[in-house]
C-alpha cells in the first residue's frame, strides 16, 4: 500500500463508487509518480473507466480519498481537475476535425493582439508556435495548417497529447489511445508518450491490448471486479502473466 514517501503525484486510496445498488468500484488504490506511465488493465466492467472518471472529475467517489501532489483533494468538476493539470484525452472527442492543427492546438487559448477594442488572432505566431511544439514532441512531418480531418488516427492522438502537455498537463489520462490504430501509428503514439514522460508528465493509460500496455507502461495495475488485484512493476510481470491474471487465474 502506498505511503507518504512514495512521491506520488496522484494517489487514490480505497476508492468506492456505487450507482444506486450497483457497485462499480469496491476498493481501488494506486498512485502515479511524475514521469511515470501506469497501465490500468482489467476486463470490461472491472471499473477502470469509473476510476478514470473519478480522477478526471466527472464522478464523485462514494467513499475513499484522492491525493493530488500530496494534498487530499475533491474534484467537483472536470474543469477543476483540468485546472490542476489533469487532462483526459478521449479517442474521438479531443480535436475539431474541420480546424487546422494550429487552430486546434490554441483553441480557447489563441494568441492574439489588440486592435482597439477587438482581439485579432495572431495567425503567424499561432502557426509558428505550433510547429515548434510539434517538433519538440517529436512530430516533424506535419504542417500546422493541415486540417485535422486530413490526419491519421495516430497523428490525431499525437497532436491531442502534445496539446495537453503544452498547456501544463501534469497528469495525462489516455483512454485506449491505440485502439483502431495500425502498428506504425501505435508506435507513433507511444513515442509521443515517451516524449511527454521524459518531460515529467505522469500518464495513466487504459488499454486492452496487453502487448501494447506492457510495452509502454512502467507499472501495471490490474483491476478485477472493482478491486485492485495487483500492482506490478513492469519487470515483475510478463505479457503472458498479465493475460493469465486477467483470464482469472491466480
Amino acid at each position: 500500500m502506498a505511503g507518504e514517501g512514495d512521491g506520488f503525484r496522484l494517489e487514490v486510496r480505497n476508492l468506492c463508487k456505487r450507482f444506486g445498488s450497483v457497485v462499480a468500484l469496491e476498493n481501488v488504490s494506486f498512485g502515479v509518480r511524475p514521469g511515470e506511465v501506469v497501465g490500468l488493465v482489467g476486463d470490461n466492467g472491472a471499473g477502470k473507466s469509473t476510476a478514470i472518471k473519478i480522477i478526471s472529475g466527472f464522478h464523485r467517489p462514494t467513499s475513499g480519498q484522492i491525493f493530488w501532489e500530496g494534498r487530499e483533494t475533491v474534484f467537483e468538476s472536470p474543469e477543476e481537475a483540468r485546472a490542476h493539470g489533469i487532462q483526459t484525452v478521449y479517442q474521438d472527442l479531443a480535436l475539431v476535425n474541420t480546424l487546422s492543427i494550429a487552430r486546434n492546438f490554441f483553441l480557447h487559448a489563441e494568441p492574439s493582439r489588440r486592435l482597439g477594442p477587438i482581439r485579432l488572432l495572431d495567425v503567424k505566431r499561432m502557426n509558428a508556435r505550433t510547429a515548434e511544439i510539434l517538433r519538440e514532441i517529436g512530430i516533424r512531418d506535419l504542417d500546422p495548417v493541415t486540417p485535422v480531418s486530413a490526419l491519421s488516427g495516430g497523428e490525431r492522438q499525437a497532436v491531442a497529447i502534445g496539446r495537453t502537455w503544452y498547456f501544463g498537463g501534469k497528469l495525462l489520462i489516455l483512454d485506449e489511445p491505440t485502439s483502431a490504430l495500425s502498428v506504425k501509428q501505435t508506435q507513433k503514439v507511444f513515442s509521443i508518450i515517451q516524449e511527454v514522460k521524459a518531460k515529467g508528465v505522469s500518464v495513466i493509460l487504459i488499454e486492452h491490448n496487453m502487448i501494447h500496455v506492457h510495452e509502454i507502461a512502467d507499472r501495471l495495475v490490474v483491476v478485477r471486479h472493482g478491486v485492485v488485484f495487483g500492482d506490478y512493476a513492469k519487470k515483475d510481470v510478463g505479457v503472458t502473466d498479465l493475460e493469465r491474471i486477467l483470464a482469472g487465474a491466480r
Partner: protein, 338 residues
C-alpha cells in the same frame, strides 16, 4: 478569409500527395466562383447588350444585398452548427414595426430603426435561448417561431403594406438609390461582409464558432463557452434580418407582411452553394455572399433573357443539389485518401 478548413498559408503545398483535391476542399468558394463564371457567360450570350449594363449590375447587386446580408448571418450560424428557418418572419416583423413606429406612431426614423433592430436581434436570441434551454434542434425551434412571428406580423399589420416615411434621409442612407439601380444597401452589405469575414477568420471568437459547429464536445472540453458562442450566432442573424428589412424599406419605401417568406431557405441555399457544410464546422462567409450574388444574377438574368421567372427556382434548386453532391463527394474522396 473564413474558408472551410480554416488553414492559413494556402500557398504552401500540403505535405502529403494528392495536393490538388485537398486544396480544393480548403477553398470552399471555388465551386460558386465556377458557377458564377458559367452563368455570366450564359447570360452574356443570351442577353449581350443588357446583362453587363450598369443598370443590370446595380439591380442584381441590390437584390443580392438584401438576401446576402441575411446569408452572412445564415452561414455563420450554419458553421456554428445551427439553423434559423424563422429569419424571414423576423425580417417582415421588424420591417413592419419600423414602418409603423416611424409613420403611425410618429417616432423619429432613427429611433424606429434602432428599436426595430433591437427587436430583430432579440427574436434571433430567443431562438437560441429556446434551442439551448430545451436542447432541441434549432430547425424545430425556428420552424415554430417562423409561424409564430409570421402570425404576429399579420396581426400587427392587419395584413396591409406598411410604408416608410417618404424621402426620409435616415432611411435613404441605408437603402437609398445612388444611381443606375445601385442602392446604398450594396455598400453596407459589403462592409458588413468584410467585418464578418474578419470576425470568422481572424478572431478567437471566429475560431470558437468553427469549433463549436465542428465538435461541440471537444470545444467545451478546452473551455470554449459553446452555449454563448451559439447564442451570438443566433443573435447575429436576427440583427441582420432587421438590417435587411431596413434595406427593403429604403429601396421600396414599404414592407409587406408576406415579404421574406422564402428568405430563410434562400439564405441557406446561398450558404450551401458557397461551401457551408450542413453538418456544421465548415463554410465561408465569402462563399455565402457569392452565393447570394449568383442567385440574384440568375433571377435578374432570366428576366432580361425573356425567360419565365419560375425557372429561377428550378435553377437555384439544381445548383444547390450540384453543390452539395460535389462537396460531399470531394470530402469523401479526401477522407479515403488518408
Amino acid at each position: 478569409m473564413g474558408s472551410s478548413h480554416v488553414g492559413e498559408g494556402m500557398e504552401k503545398a500540403p505535405a502529403a500527395g494528392s495536393g490538388l483535391l485537398k486544396r480544393i476542399v480548403r477553398v470552399p468558394e471555388l465551386m460558386v466562383l465556377v458557377a458564377i463564371v458559367i452563368v455570366v457567360i450564359g447570360f452574356v450570350i443570351s442577353a449581350p447588350t443588357t446583362f453587363l449594363s450598369a443598370r443590370n449590375i446595380g439591380a442584381f447587386m441590390t437584390s443580392a444585398a438584401q438576401l446576402g446580408v441575411v446569408a452572412v448571418g445564415a452561414s455563420i450560424l450554419i458553421i456554428a452548427g445551427e439553423f434559423d428557418i424563422s429569419v424571414g418572419s423576423n425580417y417582415a416583423f421588424s420591417g413592419i414595426v419600423i414602418g409603423l413606429l416611424s409613420t403611425s406612431a410618429g417616432l423619429p426614423t432613427w429611433l424606429a430603426v434602432i428599436i426595430g433592430l433591437l427587436i430583430s436581434t432579440s427574436i434571433g436570441l430567443s431562438n437560441g435561448l429556446i434551442t439551448l434551454a430545451a436542447r432541441i434542434p434549432s430547425f424545430i425551434t425556428t420552424l415554430g417561431t417562423w409561424l409564430v412571428w409570421f402570425g404576429l406580423t399579420l396581426a400587427v399589420s392587419k395584413g396591409f403594406f406598411v410604408s416608410a416615411p417618404p424621402h426620409d434621409p435616415f432611411i435613404a442612407v441605408f437603402g437609398g438609390l445612388i444611381g443606375y439601380q445601385f442602392y446604398s444597401s450594396i455598400f453596407w452589405w459589403l462592409g458588413i461582409g468584410v467585418v464578418a469575414i474578419v470576425l470568422l477568420g481572424r478572431t478567437p471568437l471566429g475560431n470558437w464558432i468553427f469549433a463549436v459547429g465542428g465538435n461541440t464536445e471537444a470545444a467545451r472540453a478546452v473551455g470554449v463557452p459553446a452555449g454563448r458562442v451559439k447564442l451570438f450566432a443566433f443573435g447575429l442573424i436576427g440583427f441582420l434580418a432587421g438590417v435587411s428589412a431596413v434595406f427593403t424599406l429604403g429601396q421600396q419605401g414599404s414592407m409587406a407582411p408576406l415579404y421574406g417568406q422564402n428568405l430563410a431557405l434562400q439564405a441557406i441555399a446561398a450558404s450551401v452553394i458557397g461551401g457551408c457544410s450542413l453538418s456544421g464546422g465548415a463554410g465561408s462567409v465569402i462563399g455565402a455572399m457569392l452565393g447570394a450574388i449568383l442567385m440574384s444574377m440568375i433571377n435578374g438574368g432570366l428576366i432580361l433573357a425573356g425567360a419565365p421567372t419560375f425557372w429561377y427556382q428550378t435553377f437555384v434548386g439544381a445548383i444547390v443539389l450540384i453543390a452539395v453532391v460535389i462537396n460531399t463527394s470531394i470530402s469523401r474522396r479526401v477522407a479515403q485518401m488518408k
